[in-house]
């Protein structure tokens, strides 16, 4: 238990300045009448929601004995800090919390305030997502958008309960300040990691271990399903017929279909994942070379990797076994700024026709937020 707890905290760089309540947020997805349900849930949890993991992890870190041993290892968690497991239903935009009863009175009050903030965030998240759904009018009241998103997730006749990881292109491994005020249009996996707590890269090695498998795996799943949806993906899901309890086929006597269905990849641009790690290039190189199964993701260019040198503020792109300096081709001044997020989302470009080429034209470039 201690090892699990410690590795987790060190991995995300959370070793001091603990807030009174720390939330573990798992993700899962609710959808009805959808044989590809599992593809919307957590890939690292074998296509199931991660709720159990969140609950277990918070139980571990709330444990008195665990905290005592962690203290001897230099991680001091104040007695006032409590960990809470929770889950975000990414299709319905609903957030549920586990074991709220363990909270102390002060923390329970803080929790109430936090919950309200989370609700606001969910509303805005729902609005941002709604621009991609033709059945929802993005311009209506937030509460109504939220309601429409929710009913969509339980609708029997909705082949697109959510767009899942569609459009994923980035994995940013670093402090969250690094990517703050950056609008990435839901493209990035954000992995917390603080290079200042890890000068020799020992933790980075552990952090980088699942990146290729999980983020790269998801990215390639979308990539290949999009490149040739008919052969490497599952094709349109409308005629799918559930075979046994393990797969779908197109009809009574067709082959089992691999990959993702058309409805999940329409908005996806098939580009390989770009992993950005905030650390010195030589340490990043050491971390990804730590084991051959990690290194082959990068060596064989299944995913791209860039080291963001924290002191120089320079990008180093990994190519042919070495990191070399990369000069961005886009001038920083060309990146526009969003002043009013709601207006911006409402005014975003809508597809001309329902053809797949026009669907990906809805994808927005990078913006700054003010």
């Amino acid at each position: 238990m201690v090892t699990r707890g410690e590795n987790f905290l060190r991995g995300i760089g959370l070793v001091k300045n603990f807030a009174p309540i720390v939330y573990f947020v798992a993700h899962g997805s609710s959808s009805a009448n959808n044989p590809h349900h599992g593809a919307h849930d957590c890939g690292a949890c074998s296509g199931r929601p991660g709720a159990t993991n969140a609950r277990v992890q918070s139980y571990i870190l709330n444990h008195k004995k665990v905290r005592e041993i962690l203290e001897t290892k230099g991680i001091v968690i104040p007695d006032t800090t409590q960990f809470i497991g929770s889950m975000h239903d990414t299709a319905a935009d609903v957030w549920g919390y586990y074991d709220e009863a363990i909270l102390t009175t002060e923390n329970a009050q803080r929790h109430l305030i936090n919950k309200q903030n989370f609700e606001t965030a969910l509303n805005l998240n729902a609005k941002e997502r709604s621009r991609r759904f033709a059945s929802i009018n993005t311009k209506q009241e937030l509460a109504q958008v939220r309601k429409a998103i929710h009913s969509r997730s339980v609708s029997l006749f909705e082949p697109r309960p959510e767009l899942g990881h569609g459009t994923n292109t980035l994995a940013i491994i670093g402090r969250r300040q690094t990517s703050k005020r950056l609008f990435l249009d839901r493209r990035a996996f954000l992995n917390s990691y603080d290079y200042t707590t890890d000068p020799d890269g020992a933790i980075l090695t552990a952090v980088m271990r699942p990146i290729g498998l999980v983020c790269g795996g998801i990215n390639l799943e979308y990539y290949f399903s999009r490149v040739d949806n008919i052969k490497m993906g599952a094709g349109t899901k409308l005629p799918h017929n559930v075979m046994g309890l393990f797969g779908v086929a197109n009809s009574s006597d067709g082959d089992l279909r691999p990959g993702l269905p058309w409805q999940m990849i329409e908005v996806h641009d098939p580009v390989r994942l770009l992993v950005i790690v905030e650390h010195q290039p030589d340490i990043v190189l050491k971390a990804i070379q730590s084991s051959p199964e990690v290194f082959e993701w990068y060596k064989n260019e299944w995913v791209h990797i860039v080291a963001l040198h924290p002191e120089e503020k320079q990008f180093y792109y990994f190519k042919n076994g070495a990191f070399t300096k990369y000069e961005p081709i886009t001038n920083a001044r060309e990146i526009k700024t969003i002043h009013n997020m709601e207006e911006f989302i409402e005014g975003a470009k809508e597809m001309e026709t329902n053809h797949i080429v026009h669907a990906t034209e809805e994808n927005l470039p990078v913006y700054l937020l003010d």
């Binding site: 009805a32 009448n33 959808n34 044989p35 349900h37 033709a134 059945s135 609708s155 029997l156 006749f157 909705e158 082949p159 697109r160 040739d228 949806n229 008919i230 052969k231 094709g235 349109t236 899901k237 409308l238 005629p239 799918h240 017929n241 559930v242 075979m243 046994g244 309890l245 086929a249 197109n250 009809s251 009574s252 006597d253 067709g254 082959d255 279909r257 329409e266 026709t353 329902n354 669907a359």
Partner: protein
């Protein structure tokens, strides 16, 4: 009030034409038209039902129009409304509403959005036509349109091989049912010497009894049971049903889960007055129903995929309905029909959920299966069920292969000289037949048989020909010449207008089809029937035009040829067994040959590889 009956058909038909005017991306506009159609369909069905209740439940018969009339033949559109129609129309309207609403979201952004709604609107028209039909001719119009809608929806994903193959399988079965119905109409005409309405079926039976024409009556009943068996997927035709589940789930739900597949039951209910006193007919129907119920249950319980399970369970229930119809429990049948139709529609629509439900169940209530010794008999039944009683193979080997074999034996016809000789001979016979109807002895009926045999030979040749599609198409029109000549020689007197009806429709269809094929040939000089070309991918409109041509070629209710074929049939006498069998085979295989050309040239995987192409087995 009776005029309101027309609305049942007119509204979906108008909506169908209205949706044709929009483009695929105009989902909102198409959605509005469909909403109008589906809501008014329910309103009409309900309000007419209430009106009919207030009118003391008397069956309503209403003549819409007489399309063609001579001394010996009347072709009228006749509508009829009774309790059977009431139940079928209300259930149909609600199911159409459900499926249309479901599909509005489900089909969103599909490349065939417009095509899907066009087809189901046309299907609604055909369905209402069938259930409201007051005579065989009207029923037959709906019957044919419904068959085509079925074909289009099974082959909805037309650039994959399996949907196209299975659509053809369904259409081959449907065509037998169409021709059987045509024969029933033909014999009924000879029996009663008029075009009788369904309300007069009881009288028709009395005529048969009085004239001591039991043979004719038996023939008619057989030709009613056969199409009912095929359309309702009863033994031995059951296997087309699970294979028809190729289109979007919603279309499978309305067609093969609910409305379409119960049409056989409807036909039996409708014609019940005619055969209610014939014990043998009841025994046959009960036997078919019982056999299907047992067989389909055994198959359904061991099938590994959800849609096949539903299809076979539905067929089993329909088997029970057959038994109920034969036993005379008509209200029970109507309740059973409505229940089964709604249940199967629901099951099919939520069939993607089965994974969630059952995996979830396993997750929480997993019981490790215990190893048991399975008895030999149980294992045999299991294997029999998995193999679907080998019915599919049996049908193919014993029903279709002999004709293919015969067609291959006729490959000597492919030389160009032959087609020229045939065309000239056909035309000569046609002119001769028309100008000298009485003066040339038809050699005791042998000449028509010879001519129709030539026609059948030519059609079978085209059916198994693997060379140029244009050549096959030319052979089909030649076959039509011989069919017409045979009929002319068989008749003592024939109206010119009837020949023109027939010839004009077929000729128009031929020319249209010829143009479409030439257009494809111009692309890269290859239109051999040896493979699938899938030209609909780049020649969408041409493909559609060729579909129309193929339908026109066989007397689909598009051109005057439809009436022409029905009229020409009446010139074959009721005792000419050989002639009528050959003629029926001609009409079965002429459609199959025309559709085979459509399939090979326009449907299936596109031959060019500048875009994703699905595996043949996917």
């Amino acid at each position: 009030m009776y005029q309101l009956l027309i609305l049942f058909v007119a509204i979906p038909l108008l909506a169908f034409f209205a949706t044709l005017l929009w483009q695929n991306k105009s989902e909102k506009a198409i959605g509005k038209i469909v909403r109008f159609a589906k809501v008014s369909n329910i309103l009409i069905a309900l309000s007419f039902f209430v009106g009919w209740l207030l009118n003391e439940l008397e069956p309503i018969s209403y003549k819409v129009a007489t399309l063609y009339e001579t001394d010996h033949f009347v072709f009228a559109i006749q509508l009829y409304y009774d309790e059977v129609t009431a139940v079928f129309s209300i259930a149909g309207a609600f199911l159409f509403f459900l499926v249309a609403t479901f599909s509005k979201y489900y089909m969103h952004r599909d490349e065939g959005y417009k095509r899907f709604f066009n087809t189901i609107l046309l299907f609604a028209t055909a369905y209402n036509f069938i259930i409201l039909a007051g005579n065989f001719e009207t029923l037959f119009i709906g019957w044919e349109i419904k068959g085509i809608c079925s074909f289009i929806l099974i082959a909805f994903y037309r650039n994959r091989y399996l949907p196209v193959k299975n659509a053809f399988k369904a259409v081959s079965n449907y065509r037998i049912s169409d021709v059987a119905l045509m024969l029933a109409m033909w014999m009924m005409h000879h029996l009663t010497h008029q075009n009788i309405n369904f309300s007069q079926l009881g009288e028709a039976k009395k005529i048969a009894d009085a004239a001591n024409q039991t043979g004719m009556a038996i023939f008619i009943v057989c030709m009613i049971i056969l199409p009912a068996t095929i359309k309702s997927a009863q033994f031995p035709f059951t296997t087309w049903l699970p294979r028809a589940m190729e289109g979007p789930t919603a279309s499978s739900a309305i067609f093969y889960g609910s409305l379409s597949v119960h049409i056989g039951v409807f036909l039996l209910l409708r014609t019940h007055p005619f055969w209610e006193d014939m014990l043998w007919a009841k025994i046959v129907i009960i036997a078919i129903g019982a056999l299907t119920a047992i067989m389909a249950t055994m198959i359904a319980r061991v099938q590994p995929n959800v849609k096949t399970q539903i299809a076979y369970s539905s067929a089993a229930q329909i088997g029970l309905m057959f038994i109920e119809v034969a036993l005379g429990f008509h209200w029970l049948v109507l309740v059973h029909f409505a229940g089964n139709a709604f249940l199967r529609t629901y099951q099919l629509l939520v069939s993607p959920s089965v994974l969630n439900y059952l995996v979830h169940h396993q997750f929480f209530h997993y019981i490790k299966p215990t190893q048991k010794v399975v008895s030999k008999i149980k294992a045999s039944i299991y294997i029999l069920g998995i193999k679907e009683w080998n019915l599919d193979t049996i049908m193919f080997t014993y029903l279709w292969s002999p004709f293919k074999w015969l067609g291959r034996k006729l490959q000597f016809l492919q030389s160009t000289i032959f087609i020229a000789v045939l065309a000239v001979a056909g035309t000569a016979f046609l002119i001769l037949g028309y100008t000298n109807q009485n003066s040339i002895p038809s050699l005791d009926g042998a000449l028509p048989i010879v001519l129709i045999s030539i026609a059948l030979g030519v059609i079978l040749f085209a059916f198994s020909f693997r060379g140029s599609a244009i050549k096959a198409w030319n052979y089909l029109i030649t076959a039509h010449l011989f069919i017409m000549a045979a009929v002319l020689f068989n008749a003592h007197h024939i109206n010119l207008v009837e020949v023109i009806f027939y010839a004009s429709g077929v000729l128009l269809a031929f020319l249209l089809g010829y143009y479409c094929l030439q257009k494809i040939k111009a692309i890269d000089k290859d239109i051999s029937l040896n493979r699938f070309h899938g030209y609909v991918y780049e020649q969408n409109t041409t493909g559609f035009l060729f579909l129309i041509a193929a339908m026109g070629m066989l007397g689909f209710p598009l051109t005057a040829a439809f009436i022409g074929i029905d009229v020409l049939f009446t010139y074959v006498h009721s005792n000419q067994v050989v002639l009528i069998i050959l003629m029926a085979l001609c009409f079965i295989f002429i459609e199959l040959s025309a559709f085979r050309i459509l399939l090979r040239i326009y449907l299936g995987p596109h031959k060019k590889l500048n875009h994703p192409v699905a595996f043949r087995s996917s």
